[in-house]
Each structure stands twice: as C-alpha cells, then as structure tokens.
C-alpha cells in the first residue's frame, strides 16, 4: 500500500517548537474549524457564504463552478459568451479550491491592462489578496500572484515562473494564445501546472483551428493532432465549416464550457441611446473655432517635422543606416517630441469640447510649453476671449435634461477633473444632490462615494479613471457629458451600468455640439459601428480585429485633422468580421434552446398521435 509522507516536516517541527502555546479555547476553535472545512464539500460550494452577499450570482455561474470542480477539475476552458461573468466564475473556482485547501500556489496570467482589475475583483468580491508580479522575486515570495503575460514571458521572469510547480494556473483572454510560435504560447507550454483553467469569450476569432490550438495547449492531445482534428471535424480548408457536429460538441463538452446568453434565461437590458446635438452660442463657437484653428496650425507644423530628414516613419532601414550618430539622436528626440506634441494636441482638442473651464485651463498649461512669442500672444488672446464667455449651452442643457429625469439616479461621465468640479458646482446651485467619484480618491473614499450614491445622492459625477471595475447597475441613466474618442472607453462607461444584473433598460444620453470634433466622432465613427447598441463586451472583439494596432485616439485625431478616414474604414471592416465569426460560432456552439427543445418535442409527439 502507498504510504503517507509528511508534506512539510519543517512546519510540523516549527509547530512543536513554538514557544507560545495556544489557549484551550483557541485550540478548540481551530480544531473545530479545520474539521468543518471538509464537510459537505463535494456537492456544494464551501466558500459561497463568504461572498454571495457581495456579488449578484446567477444560476449558470454557480452551475459552471460546480461543474468544473466536480467534472474537470484539472483542465478546463471557460468560454462563456461575453457579458456572462466569466471572471466571477473563475473567481468562484479559485476561491473554492483555496477554501478546500486543494491549491496553494496560484498564478493568474492576464493581458497587462487587466491585471489590476483582476486584483481588485479578487480582493473586493472574494476577499483574496493577490500580488502583482512586477518583479521576479514575487513569484517565490507569495502564493497568490497575478502577472501580465507579457511581463511573465520576459527573460527576467520566465525562468522563475517556469521553475515553480503551480497548483493552479488561470489564463485570461486565452484566445490570444492561438499562435504556437509566440513567446506567450511557449511560456504557457513550459509552465509546470497541476491545474489549468483558461478563459475566453471568443474561442473562435477567425477559424476553428484557433480553438484547436488553444485546446491543444490546455490539454495536449485531447482533441487529437491538428491533422486528426481536421480529418474528423473540419469540412473546408479555411476552417470555417464543420462536420460531425454532434461528436465535435460531445468532445468539446468534456473540456470546455460555453454558456450562451439565451441558455441562461437572463433578461438582458436594452440600451436606449439618445443623442443630443446642441448648438454653441455665437461667442462659444467663435472661441472653439479659434482654438481648433490654433490646434490645426500646430498639427501642420508637426506634420512638417516629419518631412525633415530623419523623421520619416516610412524611411527604410538602409536609409537610416546612412545617418550619423548625431542625426540618429536628433531623430529619436524628434520622434519623442512629435509623439508628445500630438498627444498634447489631442488632449487639448478633447478638453476644449469637454467644458470651457477645462479648455481654458488646458490652454494655459499648453501656453507654458511654447517658446515662440508670437504664438504665446495668439494663445493669450484666445484665453482672454474664453474667460469672458458668459454662456454655457452644454451645461444649461444638462440641467434641463436632469430636471426631466425627476428623482431618478443618474451618472454623469466626464474625462476631466476640471469639468467634474464645474459640474458639481453648477448642479449644487441648481439644487441637485451630487457626489463625486474620480481616480484621485483612495479606496475608502471611493467606497463611501458609491455608498452615498446608492443611498441618498441622486447624481454621481464620475471620471473614466475612477470608474473602472465598479458596478453601478443600481442606476440606469448615463450621461456622456463629453465623449471619449476610444470606443472601448465608451464601452467601459456603459459597462458600469449595462451589465449582467441590470433590471431596467439603460438610457444613454450623449451630449455633443454641432460642428465640433465630438459631433464628427459621434456621427462618423460611433454610429457606423453601432457602438451604443453592441452587446456587453463586444467592443473588445471589434478592437482586437482592427488592423491599426496603434493608438485609436491618434488615428482618430489624424482623421479629423487630415480628413483621411482610414480608421473609420478599419472599424467598419472589423465590425463586419466580428459579425461573420459570430455566425460561425453559433453554428458550432449553439444548442437548441429549452423552448426550441420543447417545441420539437411537441412536434414529434404530434406526429406520434397522427
């Protein structure tokens, strides 16, 4: 018979050589607690009581967590459709495995932008504190770690990560591991793990071979080699048609879970979009046009900089090789200057349309960066003009709009703190009860702000930076006082209220001024890609399909300034591709809904009667 071995003899030894001995009551509490920790563990989620009051759980989430724990506890792909709460499911599984003491050393690999979100979710929802692996020593010093996959694959981190035996490895956005030639893929392959769960909302992005690649990484050989898989299940060379659907579904069901929205029975709230195109007063419009004209001049100058030798982005390597050391240095400085200048202009353009106060503050800051006396004087004149504007059409309209919403709770989003403060003041004067929420607040202040909004304040004035990861679905009216240029930011705003658990339809008010950049973005970009009516989380997929992998803001700014609309076409194409692949996805994963099953049952019963 196999013998037991003492797992951590040094710990047992330390226990015995402890100077401090526990008092009998404490000892009694510990021995009872340990015994309770294994009771009823197989058919229930032991840790559920610890978090169920903090999260609105849905039956499919509990079902999925239990199914994974009981049926494929070592390897699983959690591939719920977007917006069904995969992170929650993963959190439940992690928490449960920790509570059952089946895992200790846990590593979550995520794309870099999501690591803090994961950390916050695990802390606030599951009371589990995870360390972010910013330095390689973290992997050995802590048991529960979140790492950006791009950091973990670096030569400083990878050897350490690969040297540890992880009890549990969780990989978010697993569809990004479809290419076996990438370092990310190799890292995951080389990590020694007892259990591994992968998460993706889009197991198919282009073809079924991508799904095969992810599954083969998760459980090598389980779905066969690519050739075998193709022979059995793929009907065309592009991987866009399948055969033996039932067998394929049966095979997949043994390693992955894909809950579809219609199977969950959850009623998803609709998005009702109301766009308000407003007109500036004459003085506001004049001021805006003067600022924009100034920005255009600055941008033209930056563009001219590109023509200077050594700052041509299209210049090939051979030509660059001919440049002297000095010229190369100048080129590097100019690239940096160009980037910074463009960024400053983008910000200025956005600030000027956000509110007058924000715009003027931004112009003053921008003035300090200028050296040309003539330009400084021009800018001073513009600022002077702005400071004497008496009207604020956008703010007036907002007040009217809020009066119409009566006592309903509303969230006003702005990107800028200056606008936020101005709105707070104006709304207070108008008699509204408000509370602020922004990225400068500490966690306690944020909690308090949310609590106040939930209980007695009518309006939350929120910045983008502060709102990430917060669930505010107890409100359903959202006002975009200014519009982010990156559609993902818009999606993140809407995502605060339009998420699983929202019981009312979400009303989105967009405020934009006719003949401004915001109006252009709203009309040319957002409406073209149906941004406001996308279902929860779909924007992420659209963005991943873009050919332009650079900054969306820069591309949009360039489109506005130069009237070349490559980015708009890029978005249109990406949206189309996402639609196509959605249909293929349905073909593979769609099972008849309960209603359809019942209908077909009734039909066959009718046939029998006949």
């Amino acid at each position: 018979m196999v013998q037991f071995h003492l797992q951590q003899p040094e710990r047992a030894q330390a226990l015995l050589s402890k100077d401090q001995i526990a008092n009998p009551d404490h000892f009694r509490l510990c021995i009872i607690a340990h015994q309770l920790s294994v009771l009823e563990a197989s058919d229930k989620l032991l840790a559920l009581p610890l978090y169920q009051d903090k999260i609105q759980l849905f039956p499919h989430q509990t079902r999925t967590a239990l199914h994974v724990l009981n049926n494929f506890s070592y390897r699983a792909l959690l591939a719920d459709e977007v917006g069904l709460g995969k992170t929650i499911e993963a959190g439940m599984i992690i928490k449960e495995l920790l509570a059952r003491k089946l895992v200790k050393k846990v590593l979550i690999l995520t794309p870099a932008p999501l690591k803090y979100q994961w950390q916050e979710e695990m802390r606030s929802k599951f009371d589990e504190s995870f360390e972010i692996a910013n330095t390689p020593d973290i992997y050995n010093d802590y048991d529960k770690i979140i790492a950006s996959i791009d950091t973990a694959k670096t030569p400083r981190h990878a050897p350490i990560v690969e040297n540890i035996i992880w009890d549990l490895l969780v990989i978010d956005e697993a569809h990004k591991l479809k290419n076996s030639a990438t370092l990310n893929y190799k890292l995951v392959k080389n990590i020694k793990k007892e259990r591994c769960f992968m998460l993706t909302a889009t197991p198919l992005q282009n073809n079924i071979f991508e799904l095969w690649a992810v599954l083969d990484l998760l459980h090598p050989g389980f779905v066969g080699t690519k050739a075998k898989f193709t022979e059995e299940f793929v009907a065309d060379t592009d991987g866009l048609k399948i055969k033996n659907k039932d067998e394929l579904q049966n095979k997949l069901s043994k390693i992955m879970i894909r809950n579809l929205r219609r199977d969950t029975g959850i009623k998803f709230a609709q998005r009702i979009v109301k766009t308000h195109m407003l007109e500036y007063s004459k003085e506001e419009m004049d001021f805006y046009n003067q600022v924009l004209s100034f920005i255009r001049t600055q941008y033209d100058e930056i563009k001219r900089l590109e023509k200077v030798k050594g700052l041509d982005e299209d210049q090939d390597v051979e030509e660059q090789a001919l440049l002297s050391e000095e010229e190369l240095k100048t080129m590097a400085v100019r690239y940096r200057q160009k980037g910074l200048l463009t960024f400053a202009l983008i910000m200025l353009t956005r600030q000027i349309t956000s509110s007058l106060k924000t715009g003027i503050a931004a112009l003053q800051r921008y003035k300090e960066t200028l050296e040309d006396e003539k330009k400084i004087r021009v800018l001073e004149a513009i600022v002077f003009k702005g400071q004497h504007i008496k009207t604020d059409k956008k703010c007036d309209y907002l007040l009217k709009l809020l009066t119409k919403t009566k006592d309903e709770k509303a969230i006003i989003f702005t990107t800028f703190i200056h606008t936020q403060k101005m709105l707070e003041m104006e709304l207070k004067v108008a008699g509204f009860s408000t509370v602020l929420f922004n990225g400068k607040m500490n966690p306690q202040e944020k909690e308090e702000a949310i609590r106040q909004f939930k209980t007695d304040k009518q309006i939350l004035i929120c910045t983008d930076a502060g709102s990430e990861g917060r669930n505010l679905q107890f409100a359903h009216i959202l006002i975009n006082y200014d519009l982010p240029w990156n559609p993902m930011r818009v999606e993140q705003r809407i995502g605060r209220v339009h998420r699983i658990g929202q019981e009312k339809d979400v009303i989105i008010h967009n405020l934009a001024i006719i003949d401004t950049v915001e109006a252009y973005i709203l009309n040319r970009l957002y409406e073209k890609i149906n941004l406001f009516t996308l279902s929860i989380g779909e924007m992420d997929t659209v963005l991943s399909e873009l050919k332009n992998k650079g900054s969306v803001e820069s591309a949009i700014f360039d489109a506005v300034m130069t009237k070349k609309e490559d980015i708009i076409d890029d978005f249109t194409q990406a949206t189309k591709r996402v639609e196509e692949i959605k249909q293929f996805d349905q073909e593979i994963f769609d099972r008849p809904s309960n209603e359809e099953r019942n209908q077909s049952k009734t039909k066959s019963e009718d046939k029998l009667k006949l």
Binding site: M1, V2, Q3, F4, H5, L6, Q7, Q8, R11, A12, Q13, L15, L16, S17, K18, I21, A22, N23, P24, D25, H26, F27, R28, L29, C30, I31, I32, A33, H34, Q35, L36, S37, V38, E40, A41, K44, A47, L48, P49, L50, S73, Y74, A99, R100, K101, L102, I165, K189, N190, K193, E194, H219, P220, G221, F222, G224, T225, K226, A227, K228
Partner: protein, 333 residues
Amino acid sequence: MDPELITIFFETYLKEKKLEYTLKNRIYTIKLDKQHQRLYATPQLICTIDPNISQKKNTSLVGKGTFLFESMVAPYTQEHVFTSLNIKTQKSDLLDVNNRLALTGKPAAMRYKIEELKEHATYLLYEATIQTAEEKTRHILPILIGSQWHIAAQGFEKANFELNTSKNRTESNLSQSIKEGIKILPSILKKEITQAEQKHYNSFEKLQDIQTQNSEDLYKDLQRKELDLLNKIDEAKRKSIEASSFSVKRTWEDKARDLKKKLTELIEKNQQKRGKIKLEFGQQKTELEIRELALSVDVLAAATVEMTLFEVTFADGDVFYYVPAIHRFAKKE
C-alpha cells in the same frame, strides 16, 4: 451537521472575542465590538442556531453555509496550533466505563477488572490528502496516541479540557507521536485509499495514452508529409521515363529534382520538429507526474494531553483503555 458542534464553536468564539451576549429562548443577542460591527454592519447581532426558530422569528441563522458562521470559521482554518492540555477526572467517568463496556464487543458475562491510570497522551489533527490523476481529496483526522494505544479522536473538541501549565512535553516525544500517527493513517483511510487507487490507475493510464497517442500521431503526420513527397518524386521520375519527347522528359526531371530538394529541406525541418515533439512529450510526462497517486499529510494541530484512563482487563487477556474525553475504548497494542 452536528448542531452541538456549531453551538460549541459559536459560544467559544464569542468567549474568545470577548463579545457580551445574552441567550433567551435559544436566541442570542450579542453586543458587537468595532471590528465585528464593521464586518456585520450592525452594532448588535440577534441570531439563533436553530433553523426552525430562524425561520419562524425571521432571525439570522448561525450555521454551516451562513456568512455569519463561515466568516467566523474561515480565519481559524488558516492556523496551525499547538497546546498542552489537562483533562480532569469526573465523578461520572467510572460509571461511564461500566455503562459502555458493551462497546468493547466482549460478552456481558465475561469477567473483567478496571484500573485507573494517569496517561500522557498526544492529540494530533492530521490533514491527509489523497491525490489521484483526476481528483484530490482532503481528510481531517484527529488521533489520540497513548503509551500503548491509539484511537480516532472525533469528538475530542467537546471534551472539558484546560491548559496544562506544567512543562512536561518533550519535542522528541511529539515528533515520535507524529511519526506513529502517520503509520496509523493508512489503516484508518483504507477504504478511501483503495477506491482512489482503483480510480487513479484507470484515468492515469488514459491520460498517458492520450499523450503517447498524440506524440505518435504527430510523428506520423511528419512521416506522411515525407512519404507524400517521395511518392510525388517517384511519380515525376516515372513520368520522365515514360515521356514522349525530350522536352517533356526534361520538365519531369526538373520537377523531380525540385521535389528532391524540397524533400531534403523537409527532412531537415522534420528532424527539428521530431526533436520538439520529443521534448514536449517529456514536458507533458513531467507535468503528468504531478498528478501521480500521492498520499500526503500535514499536522494542523497538536497537543499533549494529561488525563485519566481506565484500563479494563478481560478474563480472556484482552486489555482495553477507556478514554473519558471521547467516551470510547482503545484496544491495547
């Protein structure tokens, strides 16, 4: 779930945290300190352990699966503790031995004698983990080990023990007891281990088969590609022989030459790929080894226990020890 255990835990918790409470008609009214007020968002907690009362009076329930209870239990599950205990003799103990003699399995008519002894035993709470290819199960096992006996010690937490201030423990004795306990564990978990072994070998074999089959298939895929090219070369050669004109013959010869070149490149590439398959197979094997059948054990709590025992010697020579703390007999080893 044993309500008595919940009551003991709950009341001991209130005592340890120095929370004042009153108990009336099975309903607790507890005045919370600041830390607990933050946790439960109320200055005063009114609750009950009885599910019926909870339902009838709409009072918070303290029990397995409630936040109230689990939030109290969770921190203690992270601790490893040691203590030294003393269990005083009760007047009723001797009566208890006589009342429970039937538990020894000896005929009632058999003669016996009882002797009272002092014992320095060890209480150990083990966490035994059985890992198979498809699952890992944890078992929490309390064991009492005496000088000539040992017994599974469920219910020890209900015993009336107090702190033993006299320093009588030695680390080497405890280490010895831990080793003895580990030897006993397989017999206590015999059924579970046998079941796990059966399950494990089946699924482990399946997992190994998947790995082996996969590697074999990958090799075959490479071979197939080489064979396909070889066939094409043969075909080109055959066609060059059968050609009706010199120009056609040359075309086929050129084609065969190109294909040969491709084949050489493919063989070279495949050589590397074969190396990679071998390497990955090795990695997968190592990873699967993590899921080999394994029995591991950890000591979660330990205590030296000074207590009175009753040695019962039967006429047939069998000797049992009655352990009042858990109301059970242990047979002399």
